[in-house]
């Protein structure tokens, strides 16, 4: 009995061909989608770009009633909250990652902890917002009263704390992975020279994993920049350039979410879309910078 007839071979060849085409079309559609995305944003923000011009980036007044659209307070608010969130989250994430990646690599405790950290990422951001409103805002308010600044409760610090909790799982899960990948050989070589565990972490594990850790931080930053819901609930939505960690402010994502439904004028709507384009560009630039740094850091 012949194993394959010509007919069957033809069929096999066709399915190979079709399968490859399907994969190719799926991949290319992502590229096209991203391109269309960008085009739509650019096209819809053209009215605003033409009317407001470069002032959109450095203007500090956002007053839709008198058609003044200066986006600087939102850029400042976005960068301020995200960077502060990173400053809070990095030492914390690194500690958790070292604990799970080096001290408790296996076993039940480790598995439970790892799952709980991952679960943090699954909590909807509106719930983070609620928790922030009911728990964090009163706490910050009493702190503000104590140190004698205007007790808003909401503001940059409150949003940053919530953001930092939200980005921990992103930073942790990548960092745990790279820490687990440090060759046992290298750690043993260091131990055999008399190094203690702390010395091994500081001189072997951290230098070896720095590009991975950086990637984790970057991932977290990308998440923090674009986070909308929880921040909108906690930042105070004031169109001012934040001057201290206690001032209320606004972020690019929040202002879009807040004002999109009530944007009546043509320019107003277009300005909000331009804000989206702006956010898109900022995150893209940060991503590109990050990637180049990772490339420079990584060990050949």
């Amino acid at each position: 009995m012949p194993i394959t007839t010509d007919q069957q071979i033809k069929g096999i060849n066709f399915s190979e061909f079709a399968f490859r085409k399907i994969l190719f079309i799926s991949a290319i559609s992502i590229v096209i989608l991203l391109f269309c995305f960008f085009l739509t944003l650019v096209a819809s923000s053209l009215p605003s770009i033409n009317t407001i011009g470069i002032k959109f980036i450095y203007g500090v007044t956002w007053d839709p009633v008198s058609d003044k659209f200066g986006g600087f307070p939102f850029l400042a608010g976005t960068l301020f909250t995200s960077l502060l969130a990173l400053i809070i989250a990095i030492p914390f994430s690194l500690s958790v990652a070292l604990f799970l990646g080096e001290y408790f690599r296996t076993g039940l405790i480790s598995a439970i902890f790892k799952n709980i950290v991952e679960l943090l990422a699954a909590i909807p951001s509106v719930i983070y917002g609620f928790w922030g409103l009911f728990v964090l805002v009163p706490l910050i308010r009493s702190l503000e009263t104590k140190i004698g600044v205007a007790p808003y409760g909401v503001g940059i610090l409150t949003s940053s704390i919530i953001l930092s909790i939200m980005i921990v799982p992103y930073a942790v899960s990548l960092t745990v992975q790279v820490i687990t990948l440090v060759p046992a050989d290298l750690k043993e070589a260091a131990y055999s020279l008399g190094a203690t565990r702390l010395e091994v972490i500081r001189n072997i594990i951290l230098p070896y994993t720095r590009s991975g850790i950086f990637a984790g931080i970057l991932l977290a930053l990308g998440r923090a920049l674009g986070e909308t819901m929880a921040v909108t609930m906690l930042i105070g939505n004031s169109h001012i350039v934040p001057v201290s960690i206690f001032s209320p402010g606004n972020t690019m994502a929040s202002v879009i979410a807040n004002e999109f439904t009530e944007a009546t004028g043509k320019i107003y709507l277009s300005a909000l879309i331009e804000m989206g384009l702006f956010l898109f560009l900022v995150t893209t630039i940060i991503n590109i910078i990050g990637r180049s740094v990772i490339k420079r850091f990584s060990i050949s």
Binding site: T106, P183, D185, L186, E188, A189, A190, Y191, S192, L193, G194, A195, T196, E199, V200, N203, I204, P207, Y208, I299, S300
Partner: protein, 252 residues
């Protein structure tokens, strides 16, 4: 300085339930080269990893009995002091990839946070690299990464890294098994030189190698020390049938 440097008493080691070393008692003299041989899984690597207490880094690893270095139990000695006294070189060359050649040689000092003056550090680097006959090959590239060197050079760099701490004993875990014949020959020559200053315990799969470089050979089988004798004597006149079978290549 003659006499015993290392002594084990009824020493056993386990990974969880399974016993990998059974009642090993052995005495090793200062400045001799001891080859540890035996078929795979006989516990030879575990044996040398117990001497600098690396065995215990593995989860579930336990030991029984005692090992004494210079008549001090390794279990009462400070771990850092012990591991400085006993250098270790691994099967695969493993220079630290984030460090330069120079930093690799003084890695033991860097890791422990011991401050050395620059002149002292330069001296340690030069002396250690000369001892492993690597100085002439790398003296112009000291600040390049150690991972750019060839496998054999990397392994000699790792030996330099160990001896820069002035250990008394060097543990070599199949140091040439990942190397080509020329690099292997260089390492063997080196061991012959190093023997003047250090006591060397080398795990090897290669019987010719054991014959060429060691003074005495220990034959391990299924976690037991079957035979420990002068290398030539053990090869010509093995007391144990298993040893005989192994060296004549009937199993391996």
């Amino acid at each position: 300085m003659e006499g015993t440097i290392l002594k084990t008493f009824n020493f056993s080691a386990n990974f969880g339930e399974s016993q990998v070393l059974k009642n090993i008692s052995i005495e090793i003299n200062r400045n001799e080269v001891v080859a540890v041989m035996g078929p795979s899984g006989c516990g030879k690597t575990t044996f040398i990893r117990c001497i600098n207490r690396m065995h215990e880094l593995t989860q579930g690893a336990t030991v029984n009995g005692d090992i004494r270095v210079d008549d001090n139990s390794i279990y009462t000695m400070n771990l850092i002091v012990l591991r400085r006294k006993i250098g270790m070189v691994f099967q695969h060359p493993n220079p630290f990839p984030t460090m330069s050649i120079y930093q690799n040689v003084v890695a033991g000092y860097l890791l422990n946070g011991i401050k050395l003056k620059k002149t002292e550090r330069d001296e340690v680097v030069e002396r250690s690299l000369k001892r492993v006959a690597l100085w002439d090959e790398v003296k112009d590239d000291l600040h390049k990464k150690g991972t750019f060197l060839s496998g054999g050079q990397q392994q000699r760099l790792c030996i330099a890294r160990s001896i820069s701490m002035n250990p008394e004993i060097l543990l070599l875990d199949e140091p040439t098994s990942a190397l080509d014949p020329i690099s292997t020959a260089k390492i063997e020559e080196l061991i012959f030189e190093l023997k003047k200053n250090y006591t060397i315990i080398i795990v090897t799969h290669n019987m010719q190698q054991a014959g060429r470089i060691s003074d005495r050979t220990a034959f391990f089988y299924l976690g037991e020390l079957l035979e420990f004798n002068d290398t030539t004597e053990l090869f010509i006149n093995p007391k144990h049938e298993k040893t005989q079978n192994y060296i004549t290549g009937r199993f391996g």
